[in-house]
Symmetry: C2
């Protein structure tokens, strides 16, 4: 399992990650549920709901781009912040070709998430 | 770079991967363009267009689920089939935690792709 550097607790409706911001911490949901959403034309569009054990924030880590979407606590939620030194160390062990595929899949997910948000509004 | 086991040439409109079929070969586009689409309520919905150098087919490899979408050649297209023994060997070198994240991102892309296709039709 990933090493967790620290835990953070959020109350219902609190924002954990904000769309468009810079930052590439990766989180794992320890307790609770997180809503993933995007603002399109001033309207919030829910993209996905993540549950305990799921990872979030990995797209910004992999792509080095701003946060794709906003993550909001649904009810009381505890997230573990994955230890960065350990993560970097492990990530660097991945063969370069796979880092490339990983990045391609992440970029495709980012692009698809953007398209879906627009499609849901129009 | 990935080792390519063999090359296949497709003419405009020919199907390379069919949605719902089993198979987990991974392809890299050597020449040409590939359209990614899904059938929803009997209607074809274009999800993405992939270009030279891009990888396709990795979702089925990672998730071990049927093909998410159909890949069709746009004009004459040459794809390289990635050597499977080499790929498996390299994939198994990836730390287990990353294989898990990789799988989570792939499943999220699969889910998002399905939602987008439905949203485009409705």
């Amino acid at each position: 399992m990933f090493q967790i550097a620290s835990y953070e607790t959020y109350q219902d409706g609190q924002i954990i990650i904000e769309e468009g911001s810079y930052g590439d911490w990766i989180y794992q949901i320890d307790e609770g549920t997180i809503e993933i959403s995007k603002m399109i034309d001033g309207k919030k569009v829910v993209i996905d709901i993540l549950q305990e054990g799921e990872i979030l924030g990995e797209l910004a880590y992999i792509t080095k781009l701003p946060r794709t979407a906003t993550a909001t606590a649904v009810g009381r939620t505890v997230v573990g912040i994955i230890d960065r030194n350990f993560f970097d160390h492990e990530f660097n062990k991945i063969p370069a070709d796979f880092q490339k595929i990983f990045k391609a899949v992440a970029l495709r997910l980012k692009r698809t998430t953007e398209t879906i948000a627009k499609a849901k509004v129009s």
